[in-house]
Amino acid sequence: MLARVLRRRKAALVGLVVLGLIGAVAFLAPWLAPYDPIRVDPAAALSRPGGEHPLGTDQYGRDILSRVMVGARLSLLTGLGAVAIALGAGLVLGLLSGVLGGWTDLLFMRLVDIMLAFPSILMALVVVAVLGQGTANVMVAVGVSLVPTFVRLVRGDVLTVKENVYVEAARALGCGAGRLAWRHVLPNVVAPVIVLSTVAIAWSIILGASLSFLGLGPRPPIPEWGIDLSNGRSYLLRAWWISSVPGVCIILTVVAVNLVGDALRDELDPRLRALANL
């Protein structure tokens, strides 16, 4: 199916290739990076791009190229990890809510309503306030902020799928709620969930970098795109490359994910257009 989508949609193909490259660089960063990303070298501080440092150095003389290569790991990890958390919780709670119905549904939906009362970044702030700063906590914070959106989507689709005759037939044959949810309902709600997950990865990368930018994520000197971008703020004119390189990296990654996500959405489920707004 993916192959068909890609043949028809060149933009998605471009997105996928870019993502593959970024992923490969992130994976191989410890071997590819020309310098130690946290090694300070005052003599080389604020070097222009080119020569020994292809993308220049920051005010401490740290190599920007090495930092963004290693930093890619954290950004991708935050995006994937947060969505994994939201996806897991969303599938379990959404399926339970939709399949069981009744009081379970009522309770879960009221909980989701309450969670939705917190705009995602505010929810993430609350989680960071409780758990403290740090890499893993940012991932959890972003993941938790996405949970209600996933639960709602899964539950809504389960309710539609549940009306089908084959579900009724399975139930009439004595199929239990667990098996019903797993074997008969889940496979039919996968498409929209895939679409939402893609959009959510893009969003998580931005939100994760925003938290780091605000100083609520991993602590310096850990290389991370949001941290590095914030680090170059006072050097925007003198050394534009400090902030620009991580900035371009974030946009490139997010655009690539969005290109793939848009194509998947149009192919799988045009109804989901509104999810572009998450």
């Binding site: 609350v126 409780v130 605000l214 004119l237 257009r273 707004n277």
Partner: protein
């Protein structure tokens, strides 16, 4: 309509209570003694600790503590900031207008730009104009607001010198931060306007309007846009709430005062009473905005009232 409003208001009550429970729990979810956790950020004196302990009365059952928290919050007493020692409600009251001003300006920019971009793209569907508009929108959706903000600072204040880069007060200091948020959100609105308009343009009554010889722009503006805007209004509504959150990042980038900056410094300082206050007020604001949007939305489109009535 009245029953709809009444039911919608009733539905908001459990949410508001739920929000207050979440905010109340922030302190109690912290590991260890809440009083020590609250004071962990500051070099608190024994006096301060005793005062806080007397105020929180942690030895009482949680439900009693919660009810007292709720009672105080209802009277507008949100406790005192650990650092400034000032009432939290006062601090928030000082910062709120600036954020509302920023959010209001941003939504105007977002709606105007998003509408224009979306309509142009839909009308010139599958031409280079459409592709360019959607490319701009994709960039806008994918651009982190802190990066966009920094770029605007470089171009418009450092290079051109048109606006001051940071700080607070006056229209000149409002434009860049508002544009940052507005540009981000206009991208979302543009994509939605385009797809919604394309859907409506496929309807039979549009063909009728065209067949009777109406100019294309009249068809779009008079017949199609109204219906296409219905889903867009909801999104703008949802975005209004998210704008409150968008201000968190942008206020920091532009060193502007406001609720967002207050929230970030509170979390960085571990100033828990302040965190609780800011989170409570922001979440309640968000609930209120969504409520108003829902109500106005149902006033615009009677179908929603009826659909919801049937759901019951």
């Amino acid at each position: 309509m009245l029953t709809y409003i009444r039911r919608r208001l009733l539905l908001a009550v459990p949410v508001v209570l739920g929000v207050s429970v979440v905010v109340f729990s922030i302190v109690h979810l912290l590991p260890g003694d809440p009083v020590l956790a609250i004071l962990s950020g500051a070099n608190a004196t024994a006096e301060q600790e005793a005062e806080l302990r007397a105020q929180l009365r942690l030895e009482e059952p949680l439900t009693v503590q919660y009810l007292r928290f709720l009672g105080r919050a209802l009277r507008g007493d949100l406790g005192r900031s650990i650092f400034s020692r000032r009432p939290v409600a006062e601090e928030i009251g000082e910062q709120l207008p600036s954020t509302l001003q920023l959010a209001g300006t941003a939504i105007l920019i977002a709606a105007a730009l998003g509408l224009a971009l979306g309509v142009v793209a839909a009308v010139r569907r599958d031409t280079w104009v459409d592709r360019l508009a959607m490319l701009i929108a994709l960039g806008g959706v994918s651009m982190p607001s802190f990066w966009l903000g920094l770029l605007l600072i470089v171009v418009f204040s450092l290079q051109l010198g048109w606006f001051p880069a940071t700080g607070h007060g006056g229209v000149s200091r409002l434009i860049l931060p508002a544009a940052t948020i507005g540009l981000n959100y206009s991208a979302v609105i543009a994509r939605l306007v385009r797809s919604s308009l394309l859907e409506v343009l496929g309807n039979g009554y549009i063909a009728t309007a065209r067949a009777k010889g109406l100019a294309e722009w009249l068809v779009v503006l008079k017949h199609a846009l109204g219906n296409a805007l219905i889903p867009v209004t909801t999104i703008i509504g949802v975005q209004l709430g998210n704008l409150l959150a968008g201000t968190i990042v942008v206020e920091t980038v532009f060193s502007r005062q406001g609720m967002g900056r207050l929230a970030v410094t509170a979390v960085l300082d571990k100033d828990y009473p302040l965190i609780q206050g800011v989170v409570l007020v922001s979440a309640l604001g968000y609930v209120l905005v969504n409520l108003l949007v829902d109500l106005s939305y149902s006033a615009l489109d009677p179908r929603i009232r009826h659909r919801e009535a049937e759901d019951r």
